[in-house]
């Protein structure tokens, strides 16, 4: 059986990587995409030689098995709900939504329609992170006590303007770079965030953007494990890569240092005039898309759910509330 997949919007730059990754999966029939931005649509239609549907509705009328929603963060909700009503499975870019209310509605709509809602958390498919999860589950690493985690990156504005638009993105660095690590911690611990605190500033790129560009989010889990997440857009444009995701996990037996993007060559070239890290590790996006496709083909839930996306959005929303209060916010 061929699994028919469409892409809703190229607003998120990951859509570009997803096209390549989907084309590498033999059972996928990539039927095309739709985009409400005509100029952007034309550009990617010709760049990828990909069929462009005149509207999201027109694409959904083709009865794909699944769609990948890569719109601006605040526009995930209407597209996901539209796909659900058409009976189409959804993989939605992270963060699932910009508000808990939207995320809850999306989860409910998809459940009612009987379609999968998968949140794009590729770190669940990072081989180094999977190895650590397996070692943790075997008991070899002891019990987790805390995380010192970091998902720093460059200012995403150079890829797409909307990333730094409060309405479209829902916020700045906290909205962009908190959810991956919250999800990894929930996955490792098998328990939920209970309390959130955050600090933020706007010193990096202060003259370019209105949203927060530096920040630390604290999460305390129901089992007492505490964590910090550095979500800052602190990497300069001449950093050797876009940024990274790493954490120190302290357990009853010591600590484990994990870096999801350390498997790099360091390249020095006349062309760039600065070192560049070329990643040679296994591609987590490819594994994530394969799981979405297989889940459809095998009629089983994907490895990441809409609820997982919702739980991460809860932490983000609480972080913004904590910024206003200047004190921790209880979730449960």
């Amino acid at each position: 059986m061929k699994v028919k997949i469409g892409i809703l919007s190229f607003a998120h730059l990951h859509a570009e990587a997803y096209v390549t990754a989907l084309r590498a999966i033999p059972e996928v029939d990539l039927i095309g995409f739709a985009d409400d931005d005509a100029q952007r649509g034309e550009r990617f239609a010709s760049q990828f030689e990909l069929r462009r549907f005149p509207s999201y509705e027109a694409l959904l009328e083709q009865k794909p098995h699944g769609v990948i929603v890569c719109s601006e963060n605040s526009r995930h909700a209407p597209l996901v709900n539209m796909a659900a009503q058409a009976g189409v499975h959804v993989l939605c870019e992270k963060p699932l939504a910009t508000t808990v209310r939207d995320a809850e509605a999306m989860v409910a709509q998809c459940r009612k329609a009987g379609v999968h809602l998968m949140t794009a958390f590729p770190m669940r498919f990072s081989t180094p992170l999977e190895v650590v999860k397996a070692r943790l589950d075997s008991g070899e690493l002891g019990d987790v006590h805390c995380f010192n985690a970091s998902n720093q990156g460059e200012l995403p504005k150079k890829h797409r303007e909307w990333f730094v638009d409060k309405t479209l993105a829902g916020g700045g660095a906290i909205m962009d770079h908190t959810v991956h690590l919250v999800d990894v911690m929930r996955w490792y611990l098998g328990c939920e965030a209970a309390e959130v605190y955050a600090v933020a500033n706007r010193i990096f790129h202060a003259d370019e953007v209105e949203v927060e560009t530096g920040g630390i989010v604290w999460v305390t889990f129901e089992n007492g494990v505490f964590a910090t997440i550095d979500c800052s857009w602190s990497r300069p444009p001449y950093w050797p890569s876009w940024g990274g995701l790493s954490f120190e996990m302290v357990t009853s037996r010591g600590a484990v240092l994990v870096d999801a993007f350390k498997q790099n060559l360091t390249v020095f070239s006349h062309t760039l005039q600065r070192p560049q890290w070329a990643f040679w590790g296994s591609d987590p996006n490819q594994a994530m898309l394969s799981d979405f496709v297989r889940a459809i083909a095998e009629d089983r839930p994907p490895r990441v759910s809409g609820e997982d996306g919702l739980r991460a959005v809860e932490v983000v929303e609480a972080a913004y509330r904590a910024l206003e209060l200047g004190q921790p916010v209880r979730l449960r």
């Binding site: 006590h145 805390c146 010192n148 970091s150 309390e195 605190y197 600090v199 933020a200 500033n201 010193i203 990096f204 790129h205 202060a206 560009t213 530096g214 920040g215 630390i216 604290w218 305390t220 007492g224 505490f226 910090t228 550095d230 800052s232 602190s234 990497r235 300069p236 950093w239 120190e248 302290v250 009853s252 010591g254 600590a255 200047g326 004190q327 921790p328």
Partner: protein
């Protein structure tokens, strides 16, 4: 000739003694908790062993206090009463109130109070500070600092683990980086902290996380570990500004990597200490600088107010970890 007496003969007493021996000062003698006329450290330095604090004070111009932290403040006050200059190991005291008492006593007596925040004398930290001051990375936005080792393991009298004496990991270990963060990014407005032993009092290891908001708007993230296998000691920092970033990692910059099979004589020190090979030990650099301040009145890189402010931050971190709240700091007038 400047006469110096050292109180305490643990790893810091020994490190400071080695530093004084590189100055023209005369290291007169030591005082330890229990009197030992054959104290090896004293013999090594050809110094005497005193029987009481007052006896030591009467024989010196400078007292160098390397005792457990809870003893610092009252010793400083006593030294000031006797018009003796003071060098004191960090933390200056266990509480802001005690630290303030010590600072005021020295000021009223007109004696120097030099707090041994040795990190300011480590070349990698001092170089980063001067780069920041030169404007190499623009305005500082975020600092990440890590200091990690194993839990101190003194065979007897392991006061480090007694929080009423050491203040625990947040006060004893992490005050180094609190002071450094304040040196780089200025006064601190809020403190939020957590540590393992607040959540799990029986834990055999400890790890603290602290976040500071500076009045400048900068954010500091501090991590401190008494959690790694001995003899690990590692430090890292990352100072990010709006025009660049400075990164340090002690492991990544170790100039020697030993892959010798079963190294001989690999005894683990009681307290993990940094050990990058340098022509001059940073503790000696520090003591030499203190000597110049004492003899020539040269301004010190660490002022009494710096020692006090570091205690205020660390005390707030201890409170934050205990109460689970963000603590707002008020400026202190000395």
């Amino acid at each position: 000739m400047l006469r110096v007496g050292i109180v305490g003969a643990g790893s810091m007493g020994a490190a400071h003694a080695a530093g004084w021996s590189q100055t023209p000062a005369h290291l007169v003698g030591f005082l330890t908790e229990t009197f030992d006329p054959n104290l090896p450290l004293a013999q090594r330095h050809g110094a005497t062993v005193f029987r009481s604090f007052d006896e030591l004070l009467d024989a010196v111009d400078v007292v160098d206090i390397c005792t457990p932290t809870h003893l610092h403040a009252s010793m400083i006050v006593r030294a000031a009463e006797k018009r003796k200059h003071v060098v004191c190991e960090k933390p200056l005291a266990l509480s802001t109130q005690e630290a303030l008492r010590a600072v005021r006593a020295c000021r009223e007596a007109g004696v120097h109070l030099l707090v041994a925040h040795v990190v300011r004398y480590f070349p990698e930290y001092a170089l980063a500070k001067s780069l920041v001051d030169e404007g190499a990375i623009g305005r500082v936005a975020t600092l990440r600092l890590l200091r990690g080792s194993y839990r101190p393991r003194k065979p007897v009298g392991n006061w480090f683990l007694d929080e009423s004496k050491s203040g625990g990991i947040l006060m004893d270990l992490m005050i180094h980086d609190m002071d450094y963060a304040r040196w780089i990014a200025g006064e601190v407005a809020t403190v939020f902290a957590r540590k393992i032993t607040s959540v799990r009092p029986d834990s055999a290891l400890d790890y603290g996380l602290v976040v500071l908001q500076h009045r400048s708007g900068a954010i500091t993230h501090l991590a401190g570990a008494w959690a790694y296998p001995p003899p690990t000691f590692r430090t890292q920092f990352e100072i990010s500004g709006d025009c660049g970033v400075i990164i340090h990692d002690s492991q990544a910059t170790a100039p020697i990597e030993s892959l010798i099979l079963r190294p001989a004589g690999n005894a683990v020190p009681e307290v993990g200490l940094p050990s990058s090979p340098l022509a001059e030990d940073p503790y000696t650099t520090e003591i030499k600088a203190f000597y110049h301040t004492l003899v020539e009145g040269a301004p010190s890189r660490v002022t009494p107010e710096d020692g006090l402010a570091a205690v205020q931050i660390a005390e707030a971190a201890v409170r934050s970890a205990a109460e689970g709240k963000a603590i707002h700091l008020e400026p202190i007038s000395v």
